[in-house]
């Protein structure tokens, strides 16, 4: 069972990209942005250059991305 998520009111949706201070090590642009992505190994929170897509930081995100399971709030759950 997942946590309830209301239907968004806006007709279209976009991923929020948060500006981050700094310079891209790849192209030198000052256009770093932080946002979540889904890739080969699952969800990651990244800081990337909007100009050349160079990764500045990539850390594992929530295992199911935007979905939270109610069971994950149970302490000490397990098998047998």
């Amino acid at each position: 069972m997942a946590i309830t998520n209301p239907r968004p009111a806006e007709p279209t949706l976009s991923v929020n990209r948060e500006s981050v201070e700094g310079t891209c090590p790849g192209c030198g642009a000052r256009k770093l942005q932080a946002y979540p992505v889904l890739s080969e190994a699952g969800w990651f929170d990244v800081v990337k250059c909007a100009e050349c897509l160079t990764d500045v930081r990539r850390t594992p995100g929530p295992k199911l991305g935007p979905i939270e399971l109610l069971a994950d709030r149970i302490r000490g759950g397990g098998h047998g």
Partner: protein, 642 residues
């Protein structure tokens, strides 16, 4: 990551990276695919469920052990829309259950769409492969089950409002423990689904097929050693990643955008649901951003984020790197940016996910369009773009229920034009890669007759290589029944033209003789010309309000205005698919090929002149070999159009 290509590694470098020589790595990568393929071959030959036995609605893969983050290293041929979700699904299910809790002979089961992608019917079976008491990998088999409960028998309905109406959600748990069935899991499932008697032997078969897969992998390990085996898992993924990386590198940098939509959800037709996609390509990396897409639908025509990932991965591989093997490495240089709560990342409980495959097909269309101006010769016209799934069910005279799911609607149709030629075909939409069940099998298993499957004239997208012509399929039901139809792509062309090619025509869905009609005799074969539609009930399409024939600027007929289409014996359902998109300028098409199209009644005389600038005289129906190409008039007509 080294920029040295795999083929340029020295033998020493290759051995250091993959713990085996390159010949062994190649052999083992092939053996892994062979092992996965054997798992599904066994299921195909022994399954009782028609959608498995007739349609190939399954896939299997080999995933790496936890130490390699469950990377998917080998997959089966066939159904591709499972493949991008299975690696993540294996990771999520095993981690939630706990790899330390697994023992030899276990079989995990899970179908939760938000954990694993796809829809609840697509149940995933996961068997750990043990070697010397340690998990060396996993065999995962995903197969569509006939029913998983919920409000619609078989599940194929676009009208389900939330996960509770959708069916039973199975969180990761054991179906078999140490080779023995876990009764409480079987009971949990079979106490909540229809047709369980048919599914029970299939569940036993899944177990035995996965056990076979484990044995085959253990043979590989015994023969070649655990280190070479583990190295070959890494090699297979690296090879896929390298192929995609090279494909990206060969494309010009840029931002490429396109959008498309599903017609309406199951509530009403007030809201179209748009997939907007921007591909940002820089060097060897690509970002696929779905920002601007519609919020999740009110009924289950949504997809989950893993489905969007699959569609992008499969679509890009098909367009850019068709010769490579599909593994989780295919995604290595792709980041997906997916707004939560959108139709490509719906959230529970109200963002129900069932028709994810329609979103997958739509994403594929959007990819064809976005890259149509980028790929040059490699561009591909859009296909008929959907599944047009039909679900029919009822009760026979002896009280036995029957149910025909996803096999007797408009599931097969034409493809788009390409550099290789015209796009004709009677196959699943690009993204699905399922089999077309035989008419004989369907007629033996269900109270129906396949009366027609044929191409329709003037429905192909014009082009130097035209798209495929739309397919008309008439299915006559010999008993009363309830029907669900899910045609979601009739407002706008799905067969998008590329490189100057035209779009394919729009189709529609009709019921003839809804209140009863003969079930045998010559009158059961219905005419296909436009005059016949007025006598039918128009179920879906953009149609002329009077004649009810397809008309691109006509009235939209909403499929969901009747939540369940009840019909009497003798009713005939007609599905006309969309046409495929054209490739290249139709004025460049060889006039002799247009002449052949007219002779074969793909193109009428009028359309030959209107769409291709080719003037032909004669009677294609009465005297097809007597047609004459007027070269002078053709030259003049084309010159006037250029």
């Amino acid at each position: 990551m080294s920029t040295t290509l795999l083929r340029d590694l020295t033998d020493e470098q290759f051995l250091e990276r993959y713990d085996c020589d390159r010949f062994t790595a190649s052999v083992l990568a092939n053996r892994l695919r062979y092992s996965a393929q054997h798992v599904t071959t066994g299921l195909l030959h022994r399954a009782f469920s028609p959608i498995i036995a007739l349609c190939y609605d399954f896939a299997a893969c080999v995933c790496a052990p936890p130490e390699q983050d469950y990377a998917m290293s080998a997959v089966t041929n066939g159904l591709s829309i499972f493949l991008g979700t299975m690696s993540a699904g294996v990771r999520v299910a095993v981690e939630e259950f706990g790899p330390e809790n697994l023992v030899p002979g276990d079989l995990l089961i899970c179908n939760d769409v938000y954990r694993m992608g796809n829809h609840y019917n697509d149940v995933c079976f996961i068997r750990p492969v043990f070697h010397d008491g340690k998990i060396a990998g996993f065999i995962a088999l995903r197969a569509h089950q006939l029913d998983v409960g919920g409000i619609a028998p078989g599940g194929f309905s676009a009208a389900k409002h939330n996960i509770y109406e959708d069916g039973i959600s199975i969180s990761p748990r054991l179906l078999y423990h140490a080779g023995e069935p876990v009764r409480e899991t079987f009971s949990l499932i079979f106490d909540n689904v229809r047709m369980a008697e048919l599914m029970l032997p299939d569940f036993h078969t899944m177990q035995s097929c996965c056990a076979l897969g484990e044995e085959l992998i253990q043979e590989i390990i015994e023969r070649y050693g655990i280190e070479a085996y583990l190295g070959s898992l890494r090699y297979a993924c690296d090879a896929s990643a390298e192929s995609m990386r090279q494909a990206f590198a060969s494309m010009p940098d840029g931002d490429y955008s396109a959008s498309g939509s599903l017609d309406a959800d199951g509530v009403d037709d007030s809201e179209e649901y748009t997939v907007a996609l921007t591909l940002r390509k820089r060097g060897e990396r690509l970002e696929a951003d779905f920002s601007g897409s519609s919020r999740q639908a009110r009924t289950c025509i949504n997809a989950g984020a893993l489905d969007a990932k699959t569609a992008v991965g499969v679509g890009l591989k098909m367009l850019l790197s068709p010769e490579s093997e599909f593994t989780s490495g295919t995604f290595r240089d792709i980041d997906l940016v997916i707004p939560p709560g959108s139709m490509v990342s719906a959230l529970p409980p109200d963002g129900a996910v069932f028709c994810y495959y329609e979103v997958s097909a739509l994403i594929n269309t959007v990819l064809c369009e976005a890259l149509g101006s980028v790929l040059g010769e490699a561009a591909l016209g859009g296909d008929f773009g959907a599944a047009y799934v039909h679900n029919a069910y009822g009760v026979g005279p002896d009280g036995a229920p029957w149910m025909c799911s996803a096999m007797a609607g408009g599931e097969h149709g034409p493809r788009g034009g390409s550099s290789a030629g015209d796009g004709d075909g009677f196959s699943c939409s690009y993204i699905f890669n399922l089999m077309s069940p035989s008419s004989e099998s369907l007629e033996a298993d269900f109270p129906l007759r396949i009366m027609r499957r044929e191409f329709l004239p003037d429905t192909a997208g014009p082009g130097a290589h035209r798209g495929g012509a739309a397919v008309a399929k008439d299915v006559l039901y010999t008993r009363p029944g309830e029907h669900q139809t899910i045609p979601l792509r009739f407002r706008h062309a799905s067969g998008v033209g590329v490189r100057g090619g035209g779009d394919g025509a729009l189709g529609g869905v009709w019921v003839f003789g809804r209140d009863g009609a003969p079930t045998s005799g010559p009158e059961t074969l219905l005419p296909t010309d436009d005059s016949g539609y007025a006598a039918a009930v128009a179920v879906a399409g953009t149609l002329d309000p009077v004649t009810r024939a397809p008309r691109v600027d006509g009235e939209f007929f909403y499929y969901g205005r009747d939540p369940g289409w009840a019909t009497e014996a003798g009713a005939t359902w007609r599905y006309v698919t969309n046409g495929g998109g054209g490739w290249g300028d139709p004025l460049e098409r060889d006039p002799q090929r247009v002449l052949r199209d007219v002779r074969d009644e793909y193109v009428t005389l009028a359309a030959a002149k209107r769409d291709f600038g080719v003037v032909i005289t004669g009677d294609p129906h009465a005297d097809p070999e007597g047609l004459v190409l007027d070269e002078a008039a053709t030259e003049k007509a084309r010159a006037a159009r250029r």
